[in-house]
């Protein structure tokens, strides 16, 4: 009774500050920083888009925390297993959660984390929904983007980009269709009136033995992702405690990466504490082919992952290879222990040849079939979490991850992990925990901690050290990379936050001027980010940020200062976002990334460099409950821009729900 009374008081107190979290701002600052960190990896830039997309999807279909089990709660993929379990325990013990701010009182959560979670959870329960008649909900979204100057004026199609996405749901059924035309591509590149990229799927979700059935395009992740993970690479952020949660998941594919998904069917079953997932896929993917070495045999020279079809060679490589994949996954829970097994096979219609490899490509995959078997576990006795996974492919190359998370108190959490990926460990649909962007050739040690040093003051630090025993892109010798980060957050009130982040990155690269045997140099950068966020009223959000970057080996550096204003005009109703950013950087190496608000289901993290400015204005208008329109106009000028001195970009989005 006393606890109930306390909860009611907390709820009443927290309702009064509810208005300070504008729901339109679906991507809180903490998450945008992870998106920026992802974009620092040039080879994995799409991950930021995938990340933003998953957040938007989550905000549109929030987790019903009052009726959710641990598996449902793990859809909040940025939470740790600890936090998921603590939230599940809290709901189980105390009953209904009345406001999302009550989450701040859950062990392992803070006010800032509650704020981060708030757009992605719902407090309604299933019972409120079950009484309602089955209703068909439709959602259509269209994006139109045009840039000046056009990236490639010789491309066969128009310089505009278009994305259309249709989704429906009716009770346990849902489905989606996505079409996309990139800038420079023809809308209908073939003889049939079919867009350059067309994707769709149907999903049925149940609560009994059969949990999910997907027909069409889908993505999957099993365990820690060393075998299969078509989504985000986990564990990239150095100081965020979340993002480490493992678990099996199949989900309809809604992204626009044109190659890294499955096309076929997948089923997820669960009986008691044991689950099983089976999938089968046959998909046509882009690859450049060759007959070198054997004129009789066409073989795959390179897989093309960009999805851009604007040149003769890229059009020739479009859908050139058929990839067949299938697999089975088993998982079982024994008290605090979860075990999982996965076996999968990829085969290609023509073989991948590696006849005359350079030294760097010595271990690269060749052949037609690749099989992967993984075994993993997760054990959570009390405040300790142990997890690990081992994977072998048909070339007998292995990957191995072992990690632990420890929460000695609610104010301190510690994570450590060791990862090992053999050179040549090939997993065509895998993105393992703490793997490099190529997915192989690394041995790493990771550690971080988050500490609530005082009331409203949070200190966190992380380090990720990797050695690469074989040669890698832009480095013709065994090498190492290191990332370090220190983060200090001060949140004196719900309306105000200060954050300072200092990070360092270090890697070895080939010297461009060296001949013969390449010599290497240490490429080291340091970045200091200072940000201040303030909500003077429930309709206005202000963010000021200053970034300073140093490139150690060249002595160059850069600085940016930006101001964000987000204003919700209730009378219209509309929301206006404005940013003005001043940039001064020495060269491309000292570029600074800054996340920009963008269209729903879209993202923008421009690399800022040179001397100049970048600004944008975005307006979102909701003429009715069933529709909204968003228009973004971004412009900039820079003495160092690759695209030209002056750049401009117009994006228009219309969404209709019925």
């Amino acid at each position: 009774m006393r606890r109930m009374k306390a909860r009611v008081i907390i709820s009443v107190l927290l309702i009064s500050v509810r208005a300070v979290y504008p729901q339109e701002d679906k991507i809180p600052g903490v998450i945008t920083e992870i998106a920026e960190e992802l974009s620092e990896y040039n080879t994995d830039a799409d991950a930021a888009g995938e990340y933003a997309l998953r957040l938007f999807e989550l905000s549109e279909k929030p987790v019903r925390i009052n009726t959710a089990d641990e598996q449902e709660l793990s859809r909040l993929f940025f939470l740790t297993d600890f936090q998921v379990k603590a939230l599940a325990d809290y709901v189980r013990e105390t009953g209904t959660v009345y406001t999302v701010y009550e989450i701040a009182a859950v062990p392992g959560f803070s006010a800032s984390l509650a704020r981060m979670v708030s757009p992605f959870v719902s407090l309604t329960d299933d019972k409120q929904e079950t009484g309602k008649p089955l209703r068909l909900r439709n959602n259509i979204l269209t994006n139109f983007t045009v840039r000046h100057p056009a990236a490639d004026t010789s491309a066969p199609g128009g310089s505009w980009k278009m994305l259309t996405r249709y989704r429906f749901s009716a009770g346990q059924f849902s489905g989606n269709i996505t079409t996309e035309k990139d800038a420079g591509e023809k809308l209908f590149p073939g003889k049939k009136p079919v867009p350059d990229f067309l994707s769709g799927s149907l999903l049925w979700e149940g609560k009994g033995f059969v949990r999910k059935v997907i027909v069409g395009d889908f993505g999957a992740r099993y365990g820690l992702g060393t075998g299969i993970n078509t989504g985000l690479r986990m564990g990239l952020s150095l100081t965020q405690t979340g993002y480490l949660s493992g678990g099996d998941d199949i989900r309809p594919y809604t992204s626009t990466d044109e190659n890294l998904f499955f096309r076929g069917a997948a089923v997820q079953l669960r009986g008691g504490k044991t689950g099983m997932s089976i999938f089968w896929s046959r998909n046509r993917i882009d690859a450049s082919t060759d007959t070198t070495g054997n004129p009789e045999q066409v073989s795959i020279k390179t897989f093309q992952r960009t999805g851009l079809h604007t040149t003769a060679s890229s059009l020739a490589s479009k859908d050139a290879v058929t990839e067949t994949s299938y697999g089975i996954s088993l998982t079982t829970d024994i008290k605090s222990l979860r075990l999982n097994l996965l076996w999968s096979q990829n085969s290609f219609s023509i073989p991948v040849m590696n006849n005359d490899p350079s030294l760097r490509e010595l271990y690269d995959f060749s052949g037609r079939i690749n099989q992967i078997a993984t075994a993993g576990y997760r054990y959570m006795p009390g405040k300790l979490l142990l997890y690990g996974e081992i994977a072998f492919n048909s070339e007998k190359r292995k990957a191995f991850v072992q990690g632990l998370s420890f929460r000695p108190s609610d104010r301190l959490s510690i994570n450590m992990a060791y990862s090992h990926y053999d050179p040549g460990f090939t997993s065509f649909h895998g993105k393992g925990l703490f793997s490099s962007s190529s997915g192989d050739n690394s041995r790493g040690l990771f550690g971080n901690f988050t500490f609530e040093a005082a009331r409203h003051l949070f200190l966190s630090a992380g380090v990720d050290l990797k050695s690469h025993p074989w040669l890698r892109y832009r480095c013709s010798a065994p090498s190492y990379t290191a990332r370090r980060e220190l983060r200090l957050s001060y949140l004196p009130s719900e309306r105000m936050s200060f954050e300072a982040v200092y990070s360092q990155r270090q890697s070895m690269n080939d010297r461009s001027e060296s001949n013969g045997v390449k010599k290497q140099y240490d490429f080291k950068t340091s970045l200091l980010k200072l940000s201040f966020r303030y909500l003077p009223s429930e309709n206005l959000t202000l963010t000021t940020r200053i970034d300073r970057k140093w490139v150690i080996h060249s002595g160059s550096g850069g600085i940016t200062m930006l101001q964000d204003v987000s204003w919700r005009i209730r009378a219209l109703p509309a929301t206006v976002w404005f940013r003005h950013c001043i940039v001064r950087t020495g060269d491309w190496d000292s570029r600074i990334y800054a996340y920009e608000n963008d269209l729903v289901h879209s993202f923008s993290i421009p690399a800022l460099w040179g001397h100049g400015s970048r600004s944008y204005v975005m307006v979102s208008v909701k003429p009715s409950e069933y529709s909204d329109i968003r228009i973004k106009f971004a412009f900039g000028n820079s003495s160092g821009s690759k695209e030209g001195k002056n750049t401009g970009e117009l994006k228009i989005q219309a969404r209709v729900r019925f």
Binding site: H148, Y534, P536, S537, L540, L542, T544, I546, I559, M561, L562, Q563, V565, H580, C581, I582, V583, R584, H611, G612, S613, S615, F635, N637, K645, N646, G648
Partner: protein, 230 residues
């Protein structure tokens, strides 16, 4: 950060805080060189929860002259927040065969009262696409905060970054030793510039004197006269 006549053109969101209509003139002589002097005249007119301002400025001499004019408007948006905007016109003339360069732009500011003692100010200048004009005009962003430490002492600090230069950090104070008198001091990181000033109010006139140092270029002086129509 402190509301006042000249600060209303530094951040237009301060315009609604002017208690009465006022007119002022200012003469700023850089480094003791008359050719680098700026002459400014301005008026402000208070309205209900708003304020209007008009400013004209002339810099230079016969062979290099820059005229600028601005029409500003500030509005109280809520109890704590006010905003302002100013439309600017610039004309620059150089002797010889060079053409006259003219530009239109705008600047805008926001003022937020964090508490009775603290306030925050944001100002952007020329957030306009370069492609819309022939001549390049720099753009800048300023963010600052002010604090009232006592009824006699106020302090403030701000950071400015411009496309034409690196970041400039400024800090300053105003101390009122007597009811009609103010002493001022400040520092700017660009050029390690220190400034000092004094203001005296002899109603309805206020006189302000100031000078600043530059580590290489010497001393600049400024004088202004402001008349309030109460």
């Amino acid at each position: 950060m402190k509301p006042g006549f000249w600060s209303s053109f530094h951040n237009q969101s301060l315009l609604p805080f002017n208690p009465s209509a006022a007119a002022g003139i200012n003469y700023h002589n850089r480094f003791g060189i008359s050719e680098l002097a700026t002459k400014t005249a301005a008026i402000v007119v208070p309205l209900e929860n708003a304020g209007l301002g008009l400013i004209y400025s002339h810099f230079g001499y016969r062979d290099l002259a820059r005229h600028s004019a601005g029409l500003a408007c500030g509005l109280r948006l809520s109890e704590k927040i006010s905003g302002g905007i100013q439309a600017d016109f610039f004309a620059e003339k150089t002797a010889g065969e060079y053409r006259e360069r003219r530009s239109l732009s705008f600047e805008a500011g926001l003022h937020i009262r964090l508490s009775e003692q603290a306030s925050l100010g944001i100002h952007v200048f020329n957030p306009v696409p370069e492609a819309l004009r022939h001549d390049r005009l720099p753009s800048s962003l300023r963010v600052g905060a002010g604090l009232i430490l006592s009824s006699e002492l106020k302090v403030s600090a701000e950071t400015e970054m411009s496309t034409e230069g690196g970041p400039d950090i400024r800090a300053g104070f105003e101390y009122d030793p007597a009811r009609n008198m103010s002493l001022r001091g400040g520092f700017s990181s660009t050029g390690n510039c220190f400034c000092f000033g004094v203001g005296y109010e002899l109603k309805p006139v206020q006189i302000d004197l100031g000078f600043s140092t530059h580590d290489r270029l010497g001393i600049s002086t400024a004088v202004s006269l402001m008349f309030s129509f109460r």
